[in-house]
Each structure stands twice: as structure tokens, then as C-alpha cells.
């Protein structure tokens, strides 16, 4: 019972924040509203008993991605008083696509026979995750570091050459 209340509270926070992110006319509000989505998702992870995922969600998404996003938004000139003139042009197709996608997802949700979940206990998951990373998922774990290295080099190349062109 309490779990249901907590779930719905978190779900409402998550979805409302996501809606502010999507619909706010002020992009700074959009960026800050992500905090609610990320925190809500973290809360749902905790509710599911995934403690490590919960803390990593806070670490990476709130502490990393959100901060960098807000950074990028703030450092963009005149970002608050940007005026999108042809807002209505995108609205109707967007609504149509959203409706269509929503209908498809709803249909899939209704047709799926959901297995009944057991009660989630707050068991420590960190050891299991660590063993999985150095066990069956060793390869993805290593490849992920290559992805990050490539992304780092790519980011440096693009930004550094920009600086050189200005100089």
C-alpha cells in the first residue's frame, strides 16, 4: 500500500518534471526541471531495491549530466529570450506522432501478460553488479571505456580546433 503511494508520488514527480522540460518556453526551466525527472527515476530504482543503480543515477545524471546540461544552457548567449516564431507549425504533427506512439505503447502495455513481481527486498546489489562487470559482461565494460575515449577525443578535436580558428 505504502509502496503504491510512494510509486505514484515518484511517478507524478517524474512525469510532471518531464512535461515541464518538454513544454516550458524558457529553456533554463527545462534544464532545471530535469532534476525532478532524474530524482524521480532514482527514487523508483530505490523502490525496486536497486540501491547501486539509485546512487549511480544520482551520481551520473544529477551530478554529471544535469550539471553539464545546465552549464551548456547558461553559457549559450541569449538563451532565455529566444523566440521561436513558428511554434504552431511543429505542434500538430508532433501531437499526431505523440498520439500514435502513445496508442502503440498503450496497446503493447495492455496486451502484455505481466508477470507478478515478488516483493523487492533491499538486498545489496553492488557485489553482484561488480562481479557481472568483471565476469559475463567484461567485454561490454571494456568497450564502454573505448566509447568514452573516442567521445573524449572527438569532443576535444571539435572544440580545440574552434579555439585555434579564433586565435
Amino acid at each position: 500500500m505504502i509502496a503504491v503511494i510512494v510509486f505514484w508520488t515518484l511517478a507524478v514527480i517524474t512525469v510532471l518534471s518531464a512535461m515541464i522540460t518538454a513544454f516550458s518556453r524558457n529553456i533554463v526551466y527545462s534544464a532545471f526541471a530535469l532534476l525532478g525527472s532524474f530524482a524521480g527515476v532514482a527514487g523508483i530504482y530505490l523502490l525496486l531495491g536497486a540501491d547501486f543503480l539509485f546512487i549511480i543515477q544520482i551520481f551520473i545524471y544529477i551530478g554529471g549530466i544535469l550539471v553539464v546540461t545546465i552549464f551548456a544552457v547558461m553559457l549559450t548567449q541569449g538563451v532565455a529570450d529566444m523566440n521561436i516564431s513558428n511554434r504552431i507549425v511543429g505542434l500538430i504533427p508532433a501531437a499526431l506522432i505523440a498520439l500514435l506512439a502513445g496508442a502503440v505503447m498503450l496497446e503493447a502495455i495492455l496486451r502484455t501478460p505481466w508477470p507478478h513481481p515478488g516483493t523487492a527486498a533491499l538486498n545489496p546489489t553492488t557485489h553482484a553488479i561488480g562481479n557481472a562487470f568483471l565476469g559475463p559482461f567484461l567485454l561490454p565494460f571494456e568497450i564502454a571505456s573505448v566509447v568514452l575515449l573516442a567521445a573524449l577525443i572527438g569532443a576535444i578535436v571539435i572544440s580545440r580546433q574552434a579555439a585555434r580558428a579564433e586565435a
Partner: protein
């Protein structure tokens, strides 16, 4: 305290060696590059070629080995080896094309070549992937490296535009793919491809989620192979990227995406073919038609080749709708790759700074000034059209024959009509070179040895694969058979 025992993880060096060679090579190039000026980048290019050669030799050792590593995450079979070799060849030719291009255009050497090698690593992973996580990670490694490469010429707005468009749409499509993977995982409870197949065969998979997941994965792969209606990024990205990278994108990226697409769909999602072959049918018809019709009105050769690349993705998709034609798709992709690499090599010769020399009109009279280049370009154009006895013709023949065999006659009719349409713009280039007056300007640096060697190799490949198709077709058939069959000595090898 637990000790890490690599043998227990199914850790095997052999299937990893080609990948390790490329990754270590990329790191070495970065480290060497710190000590070099940007002007010395050609040496780094030679180093990159050496790395690719080492990786190629490593791949040769894996031919005939049929095994899986990391609990099925990495499949070492002839299918993997086939695509690894083709990808290495495409990358090597792209690097050869870059040797002088990069120096002329002031592209920082070490980062450029190491990003190419990272992209190759991602592509090879996609070809070898035995689970969806590796498919995704390979795709990301490849894509991120190529996004940066597309935007490498910072002083040109077009290059930045290319990178931005490619990045935004690519990131979006990766999202689709990842969401599809998540839903398939939800439906079947595993990310391992053979586990997914087993779940589908045993009807243990949750149907709605499986359908949704497969649909989203089609969109994700459709973006990467540039199938209509997910092709919108292609012309701009191909036009704005540095030309050697365009060649790399049009061949390497497409080969890797198809390698993964064919393996995941035709082999492991094969039991669920009823749910996706219809979608691919529509995609194939749409892609061919859009690509060819829009290519008709292009006057920029890079854009024309971009639409041609879209159209050829459509022909390959025709092969994917037919159950028995995977080997034909493999053969077709090889034929397409060499012709496209050659065509872009010729484009580099004529291209000058500030993107001049890229109009088809600039090719007028090339037959008088550079008859050899004109002849090679003619070969590539004819092969892309599908004129016998060149590789493109044989490829189309195999693909269409297989499609007819599985009863997709209307689709083949559409494909043949499209081939006829494509003849107009391919032969337009030949007409400009041979029958129209003009003096194409060629900067001496454009026709550098690297580029000319690239043209020669591509021309040779197009002719050889076309005249004597049997060994290559057999290789493709063996490759597909190896991938489709059960991994026999898997456990024995992994220890």
C-alpha cells in the same frame, strides 16, 4: 578473496586480436602524434595503414574458427572474418585517400587517424556481436568517431553542419535502437542473440513487446544504413564531411550496419520474420525509389553519390526480405563498397579547396586530360549501374534472383525499374567526361600516389569480383552458413 580467472570468463585471445590490434594502434597513433607537427600527418597515415594490416593478418588467423567468446558476446566465425576483412579494406583505402587530403586541409593528423581506427573498432565489433549490448556499443563507438570525423574541417560551415545533422539524427536513431533492445530484453529476458532466438522459437517471448522492439530496431538500423524515410541526414552529412570520410561513411559505416542488421534479423530474429519482412519490403521499395529519383536532379557529385548510397541500401534491403539470399546481400555489399570507394577517390582528385570542383559539370573533358581516371570512373559508374561483367551486375543478379525465388516478384520489378532510372545519372557522369568539352582543373596534390593507388585497387576489385564472382560468392555463402549454423566447438575453444 575472489581471484579473477580469465578462463572462467570464456576469455579467448584469438577472436579479440584483430580488435585489440586496432585499439592499441589507435592509442599508439595518439601518443606518437603528440610529438609531431600537424604537417607530418602522412607518416601517421602510414602507421594507421600498418595497424590495419596487422589487424588484417590477425583476422586471417580466425578464418575457419567457429567459436564464441565472453559467453556468446563475441562470435568468431567466417561471417565475422568476412566483414572484418571488407571493413579493414574500406578503412585502408579511406586512409590512403586521406594521406594528402588531411595534410592539405589542415586536419590534425593524430586525432584524425586514431578516430578512424576507433570507428573501425566499432564496426568490427558490430560484425562480431553476439549480443545486443555489443551491437549497441559497437554502433556507438563507430558513430561517435564518425560524428567527429564528419565535422573535422572546422573552417567550413558545411562540415560543421554535416557533423551536427549527423550527430543529432544519429543520436536520435541510437535512442530508437536502444529502446528496441530494451523492449526485446523485456520480451525475452536476455540480450544474447541465441537466447532471443530460442525464446522466439519456444514462443516464450512476450509478443507485443517483441514486435515493438523489433520495429524500433528496424528504425535504428534504418537510420544507420540510410534507408528511406530515415535518410534525411545522408546528403548533407556526405556533402559536408571531408571526402575521404564520406567514402568511409558510405562504405564502412554501411557495411558494419548491414553486418549487424543481417546477422540480428536474418539469423537470430529469423523465426519472427513474419513480423519484420513486410516492413523491410516497404522500406526497400521506398529507399530505392527515393534514392534514385532524387539522385536524378543532383548536380553536386557528392550529393549524387549520397543518394546513390541510399538507393544501394535499398537494393541490399531487397536481399534481406528474401530468406535465402543473405549470401547475395554480402556479395552485393562488397561490390557496392569497392565501386563507391573508387568513385569517391576520383572525386578527391578533382576536388579543390573551398569545395570547388564538385559539380558534375566539372568533370567535362576529363577523358582528354586524365584518360586513366576517366576510365576508372566509368568502371565505377557502370558497376554501380549494374552493367555486366562488373561486380555490381553480378551482385544485383544474385540479390534479385534470390528475391524472385522467395516470391517477391513485385519488389524485384520495382528494383529493376530503379536500376534503369539510375543508369541515367550514372551515365550522365560518363557523358560529361567523354562527350562534353571542358578542361577540368586538377591540383597536383589532388592526384597523389595514395589516391591513385586507391583508385587502382578499387577498379581492380570491381573488375575481378565481377569477372570471377564464384570464389567471393562462395566466401559469402560460407560466411553466412557459419553464422547461421550452431557454434560447434564453442566451449572447447573458449578455454
Amino acid at each position: 578473496m575472489n581471484t579473477l580467472n580469465l578462463a572462467n570468463l570464456g576469455f579467448a585471445w584469438l577472436p579479440l586480436l584483430p580488435l585489440i590490434a586496432v585499439a592499441v594502434g589507435a592509442a599508439i597513433i595518439l601518443l606518437v602524434g603528440v610529438r609531431l607537427e600537424d604537417e607530418d600527418s602522412a607518416g601517421l597515415g602510414i602507421l594507421a595503414l600498418g595497424v590495419l594490416l596487422v589487424s588484417f593478418v590477425c583476422t586471417l588467423f580466425t578464418i575457419g574458427v567457429n567459436a564464441e567468446a565472453f559467453g556468446g558476446a563475441l562470435l568468431t566465425d567466417d561471417y565475422t572474418a568476412f566483414f572484418e576483412i571488407v571493413i579493414q579494406a574500406a578503412a585502408a583505402i579511406s586512409v590512403a585517400l586521406s594521406l594528402d587530403y588531411a595534410a592539405d586541409n589542415g586536419l590534425a593528423g593524430a586525432e584524425y587517424y586514431s578516430l578512424v581506427l576507433f570507428a573501425v573498432l566499432g564496426m568490427m565489433l558490430m560484425a562480431a556481436a553476439g549480443d545486443l549490448i555489443i551491437v549497441f556499443l559497437g554502433l556507438e563507438t563507430m558513430s561517435i568517431a564518425v560524428y567527429a570525423l564528419a565535422g573535422f574541417v572546422r573552417r567550413e560551415a558545411r562540415s560543421s553542419e554535416a557533423a551536427l545533422k549527423y550527430f543529432l539524427l544519429g543520436a536520435f536513431s541510437t535512442g530508437f535502437l536502444l529502446y528496441g533492445i530494451a523492449l526485446i530484453y523485456g520480451a525475452t529476458g536476455t540480450v544474447h542473440l541465441d537466447g532471443i532466438r530460442a525464446a522466439i522459437v519456444a514462443r516464450a517471448a512476450s509478443q507485443p513487446y517483441l514486435e515493438l522492439g523489433v520495429g524500433l530496431m528496424v528504425i535504428g538500423f534504418g537510420f544507420k544504413v540510410a534507408a528511406a524515410p530515415f535518410h534525411a541526414w545522408t546528403p548533407d552529412a556526405y556533402e559536408g564531411a571531408p571526402t575521404p570520410i564520406t567514402a568511409f561513411m558510405a562504405t564502412g559505416v554501411k557495411l558494419a550496419a548491414f553486418a549487424s542488421f543481417v546477422r540480428v534479423f536474418m539469423i537470430y530474429l529469423g523465426p519472427a520474420a513474419a513480423q519484420w519482412s513486410g516492413v523491410l519490403w516497404v522500406l526497400a521499395a521506398l529507399t530505392m525509389t527515393v534514392g534514385n529519383v532524387v539522385a536524378l536532379v543532383q548536380d553536386n557529385i557528392k550529393r549524387m553519390l549520397a543518394y546513390s548510397a541510399i538507393a544501394h541500401a535499398g537494393y541490399a534491403l531487397v536481399g534481406m526480405t528474401a530468406a535465402g539470399s543473405a549470401a547475395a546481400v554480402l556479395y552485393y555489399l562488397v561490390a557496392y563498397a569497392f565501386a563507391t570507394l573508387g568513385a569517391f577517390a576520383v572525386v578527391i582528385v578533382l576536388e579543390r579547396r573551398a569545395t570547388a570542383g564538385l559539380r558534375i559539370a566539372d568533370y567535362r573533358g576529363l577523358a582528354q586530360t586524365r584518360p586513366g581516371l576517366a576510365a576508372a570512373m566509368t568502371l565505377f559508374m557502370l558497376s554501380l549501374t549494374g552493367v555486366p561483367p562488373l561486380a555490381g551486375f553480378v551482385g544485383k543478379l544474385y540479390v534479385f534472383a534470390a528475391a524472385v525465388d522467395s516470391g517477391h516478384v513485385p519488389l524485384v520489378v520495382i528494383a529493376v525499374i530503379n536500376s534503369a532510372i539510375s543508369a541515367y545519372y550514372y551515365i550522365g557522369v560518363i557523358v560529361a567526361m567523354y562527350m562534353q568539352e571542358g578542361t577540368p582543373e586538377i591540383e597536383p596534390s589532388g592526384a597523389s600516389p595514395g589516391v591513385l593507388i586507391g583508385v587502382a585497387i578499387a577498379a581492380l576489385a570491381v573488375v575481378l569480383i565481377g569477372i570471377a564472382p564464384t570464389p567471393y560468392m562462395n566466401a559469402a555463402r560460407d560466411a553466412f552458413a557459419a553464422a547461421a549454423g550452431p557454434p560447434a566447438q564453442a566451449t572447447a575453444f573458449a578455454r
